[in-house]
């Protein structure tokens, strides 16, 4: 294997094909690769198959913009700033996007299995729920579980007996996406990845995926990032493309770098509940700007200053969050 390649966002996203299976870094509205989402929309990708440990603003937007055919996950929403993923709901209710439901632990176990090179993982999580109802095996109903799709397992899940300690539990199939697009705080020149704060399910998403695009706030020397190797998460041989792009998680938050832009997300949620609203939003914030730099310019320096994290805490102390502050 070679070293990862340093490239630009447009070029990296240009490598992704219609129909590819994608996963992402982050958790709900934290450390999502938003600049990559904008670029996927700008490049008019189609029929993407998302498998993610949980959804958020990034996937709701990508789905709303018509780039996605299948979404396998457990949750979508904007936390405090929007209680459901309204774009996914609208597209699913219109039959334009298919949802395959797993629980949080189940979909995580799928990614863990993928990252470990296993075909499945056992779990006791969410037994006795409708996630296991055969009537809701939607990929099966679409005829996609016939073994002819390399990335789609032949069963959604399976109840099995444990002969070692006499129990019964669930197997969920591994997932190995074509691509993981990860937004991180820091990457070394040779690809060593460091993530600060909570690491969510990023190690698993990166290691499960066949190709990995790391978008970093900062590219640093390897000598620097290796001074404390216990703080690093992924070695360079599990990374394929490196893009340096500060603020590329906006409007989601990035520990130690910037706060979630709650006001921006709330506005997105409120104005994109209809397809027309979503189309207008995309026209303004994605197609209406040339690239991510132009987007940041449109956001404006003042807003970025407010969001910037205080190093003592890892979050911003300047942002107004509640009704009384």
């Amino acid at each position: 294997m070679g070293k990862p390649q340093h490239t630009g966002l447009t070029e990296a996203i240009g490598l992704i094909h219609d129909g590819d299976m994608l996963t992402f870094s982050g958790f709900t509205i934290w450390r999502r690769p938003m600049a990559a989402i904008y670029e996927l929309i700008r490049q008019k990708k189609k029929d993407l198959h998302l498998v993610e440990v949980n959804g958020g603003t990034h996937s709701d937007l990508l789905i709303g913009a018509g780039c996605v055919k299948v979404w396998e996950s457990c949750w979508i929403g904007h936390e405090l700033y929007g209680k459901i993923g309204a774009n996914l709901a609208r597209k699913a209710e219109a039959g334009e996007v298919v949802i395959e439901d797993y629980s949080h632990v189940q979909i995580l176990a799928r990614m863990v299995a993928g990252s470990m090179g296993l075909p499945y993982l056992p779990t006791y999580a969410s037994l006795g729920t409708d996630m296991l109802n055969p009537a809701y095996d939607h990929l099966g109903q679409m005829g996609l579980r016939d073994g002819s799709h390399a990335k789609i397992p032949k069963l959604k899940s399976q109840i099995v007996d444990d002969p070692f300690y006499d129990s019964q539990l669930l197997h969920v199939p591994a997932c190995n996406p074509d691509w993981c697009i990860a937004h991180v705080q820091m990457v070394g020149e040779e690809g060593t990845v460091r993530i600060e704060g909570q690491t969510y399910s990023d190690a698993e998403a990166i290691k499960a995926s066949d190709k990995v695009i790391v978008i970093a706030e900062q590219v640093v020397t390897e000598e620097y990032i290796r001074r404390d190797p216990t703080r690093n998460l992924v070695p360079g041989h599990q990374v394929h493309y490196i893009v340096e792009l500060p603020w590329a998680g906006h409007p989601t938050g990035c520990y130690g770098q910037y706060e979630t832009d709650g006001e921006f997300i709330r506005d997105f949620f409120n104005t994109t509940r209809t397809q027309e609203g979503l189309d207008n939003w995309v026209d303004e914030w994605v197609m209406g700007v040339d690239d991510f730099d132009a987007y940041l310019q449109k956001i404006g320096v003042q807003r970025l200053k407010t969001l910037k994290a205080n190093p003592a805490f890892g979050y911003s102390t300047r942002v107004k969050r509640g009704t009384r502050s």
């Binding site: 999580a125 129990s167 969510y200």
Partner: protein, 269 residues
Amino acid sequence: MTRPNYVKQGEFKPMDLLTVAAAREVKDGDIVFAGTGLPMLAIMLAQHNASPNAVCIYEAGSVDGRPISLPTSVGDARCSYQAAISSGLSDVFNQLQRGVVDLAFLGGAEVDRYGNVNTTGMGTYGMVPEKRLTGSGGNSDINGLARKTVFIMPQEKRRFKERIDYITSPGWRIPKWPSGEMVPKKEVYNRAFRGGPSAVISNMGVFRFDENGEIYLDTYHPGTTPEAVKEHCSLDLNLSRVSGETELPTYEELELLYNVIDPEGIFLQ
């Protein structure tokens, strides 16, 4: 010990009572797994009050954080402040499955007689759902594997139902797949069975579950009646075990909630 200094009717909002009632479910030393929103306020209130040794786990990957600024969600940078551990989902979910979690605080859109909860979809579900909600998140996992679970939900007729539209989170009687036959939870969870829903707290009362795993009203909040609570359910609510009125919040508890835990007014407006 001095007598608790209870607030009077009209001096609190429904949400305050709900949060305080939830906090009182925490025993000192409990390992608590809490979701975003009111569950966060409840565990933090318990820690600031009667249960200083309770430990809080958030599913994004923090353990026993001691935030000085209220997180808006479990993925928030604030969760890591003075935490014992800041890691990821695998670490905390493995602890859950290993059996360390005593109590979970969760929410839901619908609940049935056996404490099954729906957060996935309303109406007909399937390839083309009638009305899609957020999905399970960790609700079903945490509820399934903790010793006790407390659900916090608004009291509405359409939410307390005999039959919910989708079983997202497992109650005391659940489908055993692949057949789907409804059986006691213990038969499905076998070696990993540790308990189940312990209470549902709404803005009108506190519900618990009997030896058959069936819901009943335990206490009704001051200002309402058991019959009024029953009218806000579409399930046939058992009122035979009502033990009285829900204990009011104290001035100290409201002081903690409004001035210490959520001074910015993020969840408490």
